[in-house]
């Protein structure tokens, strides 16, 4: 390629060609622009990403090997080696997994080369993402298990929960202090949730517990009372991570992935928050720290207003409450992604409504298709400097009791090591 300047005065420009980004591109190349954003906007911030996924399906065989039941281990490995692959034992419907928009978005289900790098390839990929995005900590969560609550076989959820939690705590998290985990709770089987909380409650790398919201369990049921008491005693948060399920009869009416995805990620957390509040769970478990993950923000004022409106008319149906649902909701925590931002006036009002400055935690959801960079917060014109710092990391440090000193390398160092060609 010709490389010369026509201005006749200065030296010839330095020109390099940038390659197309695809599924096998290095994470640091894909996120090169985000690294530049880090330098320009938030290099001195402390940043925590509460929800990221990497791509554990590549290592699903390692999880299956840790299943503690001989029969399910055999079935899982048999499927893994034949038609099931990374979906072995799971209730995902690969033909309905249209996240990539026909291959337009290549980073979900990434397969980047990590050969020659010491350590587990999952950790290598995660570290590249953390460095490129400018994260001090990242909480990794299993994508493949997000709809496991809808699995018709509770015992499969149990054996996969035990195996995944072992893989997370024994293989992944010990390799990088910047990676943290939320323990997967097989919520269809409460007594196993209790067993797992007891087993992992003192693991420093497990900073909280997660229920995948895509399920039909009433969260106010007394079968969970002991579990909530145990979690409350740990002082670690309980997160409900939302998801989708096209098989839900209501969503089966929707003929596009975007329609189903837009509604379902808010649907499940709306149901669980409603049950949680109307059944006075904040009064019955006043110290439990509730975090609602991956529903965006627009649903929060919607639901709060709906519940306030009806509770005032029908107090006899929510007699355990001592204040309005919106007031309880302002005492909970929420994560940012996928943050609706096509109308900044509405977003500003939403954040003001639930005191985002203290209650909101940044989450990337990287590498899923609708991920958010930290710049989605640092770019907001109406937030104060302190509010940005709180949302991007300090609120998480407080909620999860994290050491809020810088852990990541300088963004410029990341660029120097991988200048971004792909």
């Amino acid at each position: 390629m010709t490389q010369k300047s026509d201005d006749g005065s200065s030296s010839a420009p330095e020109i390099k060609e940038l390659e197309q980004i695809g599924r096998r591109s290095d994470t640091r190349d894909v996120l090169n622009h985000a690294t530049h954003q880090a330098i320009a906007q938030y290099e001195d911030y402390f940043i925590v990403d509460i929800d990221a996924h990497v791509s554990e399906d590549q290592f699903w065989g390692e999880v299956l090997e840790l299943i503690d039941n001989d029969v399910w281990k055999h079935i899982g490995l048999d499927q893994f080696g034949s038609f099931g692959g990374g979906n072995a034992l799971l209730n995902l419907a690969p033909g309905l997994s249209q996240q990539s928009v026909g291959g337009r978005i290549g980073h979900q289900g990434r397969r980047e080369p990590v050969e020659g790098v010491a350590g587990h390839p999952f950790v290598t990929a995660a570290r590249r993402g953390m460095d490129a995005l400018g994260l001090d900590y990242q909480v990794v969560f299993p994508s493949a298990m997000l709809v496991l609550g809808m699995h018709p076989q509770d015992e499969v959820e149990v054996v996969l929960a035990r195996a995944f939690n072992r893989w997370l705590t024994e293989v992944v998290l010990p390799q990088d202090d910047r990676l943290k985990g939320l323990l997967y709770l097989p919520f269809n089987t409460p007594e196993v949730c209790e067993e797992l909380v007891e087993k992992y409650k003192d693991d420093d790398n497990i900073i909280g517990f997660t229920v995948c919201s895509t399920r039909n369990n009433p969260v106010h049921s007394d079968v969970y009372s002991k579990l909530y008491s145990m979690i409350e005693a740990t002082d670690k948060p309980l997160a409900f991570h939302s998801g989708y399920h096209w098989g839900d009869p209501s969503f089966a009416q929707l003929n596009r992935f975007l329609s189903m995805h837009a509604l379902s990620f808010t649907h499940y957390n709306q149901i669980h928050v409603t049950n949680w509040i109307i059944n006075a769970m904040p009064e019955r478990f006043p110290k439990i720290k509730m975090l609602w993950v991956e529903s965006g923000l627009a649903w929060i004022p919607f639901l709060a207003q709906r519940l306030d409106h009806e509770v005032l008319m029908r107090p006899s149906e929510a007699p355990g409450l001592t204040k309005l649902p919106s007031e309880y909701m302002r005492e909970m925590w929420y994560t940012t992604q996928p943050m609706e931002r096509t109308d900044l006036g509405m977003l500003e009002a939403t954040m003001k409504f639930f005191n985002a400055e203290t209650q909101l935690l940044y989450s990337s959801d990287w590498p899923h298709w609708d991920w958010d960079a930290p710049s989605t917060i640092s770019n907001l014109p109406f937030l104060s400097e302190q509010a940005k710092r709180n949302i991007l990391g300090l609120n998480a440090a407080k909620l999860f009791n994290l050491d809020a000193t810088r852990k990541r390398p300088p963004a410029q160092q990341t660029l120097d090591e991988r200048p971004g060609v792909s």
């Binding site: 940038l18 622009h33 337009r104």
Partner: protein, 129 residues
């Protein structure tokens, strides 16, 4: 902003038109300024490699046919199809799409790419960056 901070544009020859047009698209980093150059029929366009949505490397994604919803008489749906000629630039970060020639989002036209001046002169493709 002070006027002295604005760098004047300078012309940069990036190659021969006859050679580059066979490439369909090239994305270049020219002294830190990233530009995607597209060759569509006899037309040439250059767009800044920065997505108006989130700042992603918009020109480094796929080029896809524009998807259309075919409408049939009587208000019936004819289903989805690919436009026979129009193609879109797709941002690899989140899938935002923009017409190669217009630089506009197919649904909201005021969401658009930033044009970089480009011309053909004496067989050379010249960008003003």
């Amino acid at each position: 902003m002070a006027a002295q901070n604005i760098k004047p544009l300078r012309d940069v020859v990036i190659g021969k038109y006859d050679q580059l047009r066979t490439r369909e698209r090239v994305v270049l980093d020219i002294d830190g300024k990233e530009v995607g150059v597209y060759f569509e029929g006899d037309e040439v366009r250059a767009w800044l490699n920065v997505c108006p949505h989130g700042g992603g490397p918009v020109c480094q994604g796929k080029i896809m046919p524009r998807t259309v919803h075919n409408f049939l008489p009587g208000g019936k749906s004819g289903g989805l199809g690919h436009h026979e000629s129009e193609r879109n630039i797709v941002c690899p970060w989140h899938g935002y799409e923009f017409g190669i020639l217009s630089g506009e989002h197919p649904i909201k036209s005021d969401v658009k790419l930033i044009a970089v001046p480009v011309r053909i002169s004496d067989g050379d493709v010249i960008l003003s960056v």
